[in-house]
Symmetry: C2
Subunit: 367 residues, 2 copies
């Protein structure tokens, strides 16, 4: 059995080995400070007695699950704390397939490459359905693709890589489609704190027993290495997800969960707002420079990626490597995200050098 390995690491390794200065716009690692309370909690944890160093409950520290449940207005029993949002997505997908309700997952194109990788690993079949040109949901296309064999529909909003924030009404229509074909809808909301439109609404507000929402603290607290995410599952599915979590990982990391719990309680809204403003400023500067480079691009409504298209320079792995070598900027090839954006290259705004990178691109592609 072969799995489709995401190409992120391949590009990052190529950029790291390059014989020149390269600005990394590949990885989705925030470059700003984590909450001060998180650092403080970690120092505090280091001095706790030995029993605080032992297994947390498999489903996560109760106080953290309660804090999540309160913020998300759901029953705490529905919350599973996972080893990052990645594991939460894995558990949700496994649950969808384990119901004997079909083998197919409807994924949107462009697609975050881990999704088809996980579907493949779980023995499912991925059906890629293109989004609208602007990255919005094409509900009619999803309706056409859904069938009795569809076990799962996966949405990600705010979206990586398009930056789209889905309308809740469109999400509701997708949930109705799922209901009609006995599928579950996984909504990955890991970028929920990075909505620049003010109109993002969680799919949890639909209050549907078809909807699994996943999220985490990797992006919002700038701690991708801590591995604290969560899934919120309908009552009929959460037990199986907890069991799989226990059998795969036993439990998640307690120092990380402890630190996140304290940071969640003590971090003011301004912390999140500052990161959003920083990213909005970078998006402005970066897209201004892309104008100078004569590129087409999407101005992100949320998350922190820009998709750009340079005439006569499609988003292949070969071209991305050329850009590393000749322009000193590393992006992700559009072809890594399905086939709908293979003309495009994705640039992550999580570097203080985003403006400098845009200038390099303007120099390289400009006349």
């Amino acid at each position: 059995m072969e799995y489709e390995e995401p190409k992120f690491f391949h590009v990052m390794q190529y950029a790291a080995a390059a014989d020149r200065d390269v600005i990394d716009m590949v990885s989705g690692n925030p470059d700003w400070e984590p909450p001060a309370a998180l650092r403080e909690a970690l120092r505090e944890y280091a001095d706790l007695p030995p029993d605080a160093f032992q297994y947390p409950p498999s489903e996560g520290l109760l106080e953290l699950r309660e804090a999540i449940a309160e913020r998300r207005s759901v029953d705490v029993d529905r919350v599973v704390v996972t080893n990052g949002t990645g594991e939460a997505n894995y558990l949700a997908m496994a649950r969808a397939f384990d119901r004997d309700a079909g083998d197919e997952a409807v994924l949107l194109d462009p697609v975050y490459p881990y999704y088809p990788g996980k579907v493949d690993m779980l023995g499912g079949e991925a059906a890629l359905v293109p989004t609208e040109r602007d990255g919005g949901l094409d509900v009619a296309a999803i309706r056409e693709a859904a069938s009795a064999d569809t076990a799962l529909i996966v949405l990600n909003t705010p979206n990586n890589p398009t930056g789209a924030v889905y309308d809740l009404d469109a999400v509701r229509e997708v949930v109705e489609i799922a209901h009609a074909v006995d599928a579950l809808v996984l909504v990955d909301e890991v970028y929920d704190h990075f909505d620049q439109t003010g109109r993002f609404e969680s799919a949890l507000t639909l209050d549907s027993d078809r909807v699994i929402v996943t999220s985490g603290f990797s992006k919002s607290m700038a701690i991708t290495g801590f591995r604290v995410g969560y899934g919120i599952l309908p009552a009929g599915h959460v037990g199986d997800a907890k069991t799989r979590h226990m059998l795969v990982n036993v439990a998640g990391p307690r120092p990380s969960q402890y630190a996140v719990h304290h940071a969640l309680a003590e971090t003011p809204p301004e912390y999140y707002a500052e990161a959003r403003e920083l990213l909005a400023d970078r998006a402005d500067a970066f897209t201004d420079a892309l104008d100078a480079a004569g590129a087409e691009y999407s101005r992100p409504e949320g998350a922190f990626y820009v998709l750009a298209r340079f005439e006569g320079f499609p988003g292949t792995m070969a071209n991305v490597k050329r850009l590393v070598d000749e322009a000193g900027v590393a992006g992700m090839p559009g072809e890594a995200f399905g086939s709908a954006r293979d003309e495009w290259i994705r640039f992550a705004l999580v570097t203080p050098r985003a403006v400098e990178a845009a200038e390099r691109l303007a120099d390289y592609f400009g006349d």
Copy 2:
């Protein structure tokens, strides 16, 4: 699809809810101090710049993998750092089944309950083969059980729950059986630092392309909540395990890996020896008291569990609950570990109150 959920949590919850003082001998959580260098590294980590808080390499921090490879005398490419030994076992089992070399796993009875749970979750069939009366390997019985449908044989040494330390020659014979039927052998060595016989030898010394060894730092550093384990796989299998690890968990927790790496470098052998001596003393005192209670028992050669059998009091869940209520001691029912020890109850020695527990048992069962 239903998974067999381990019964640990059920007993622990029952004991916690009891209306009296109960000595917990259920969980395998060490009760002694973690290495001082581990606490110090965690404090140090809390002050590192934000980039140290982001994803470690998926397969683990390179410096940690190198330290493991050096101690285990293997090529570093063969090492995958996982979310605890539990994930390493899951990856190894998944790899064994993914080869299309059969659907069956040979497990030894008594068995650590997570093993059949994982096999079941992965769609495999568990075949339980009894060990010798003293917990040693019954090579002839394993040979008889192995067939073309056998994809995997799982060994755990030092053993939970029997305390047996397997002879390397017997392990070698099991590996030869695996070779003959195209199976892999997973050897879980998580208790390797708790060998009381001085004759434990890692299965890695067999240098076989059939052997996957897993271990971790949960027990040896008294940090079950940190989630740092590892798998050492043959070159032909390690790539698939790394990919599955990436698709399930993305990466393991970096604060934990950082702390373990420093503790591994800076902790003297005396730290591990002290824990072994503490456990040997507890085993002496506990088994002396079991003599007074008229119980049969196994004196552990390794790990930190004692199996005891009380005449007319089989190791059912009902009897374990009676012991909680009437004697104030919580153990694990032998029936949770397969069928070979369903007359027995397992007591974990990782409590400072082991002697007091034994006295309670002597009072309860004595004349």
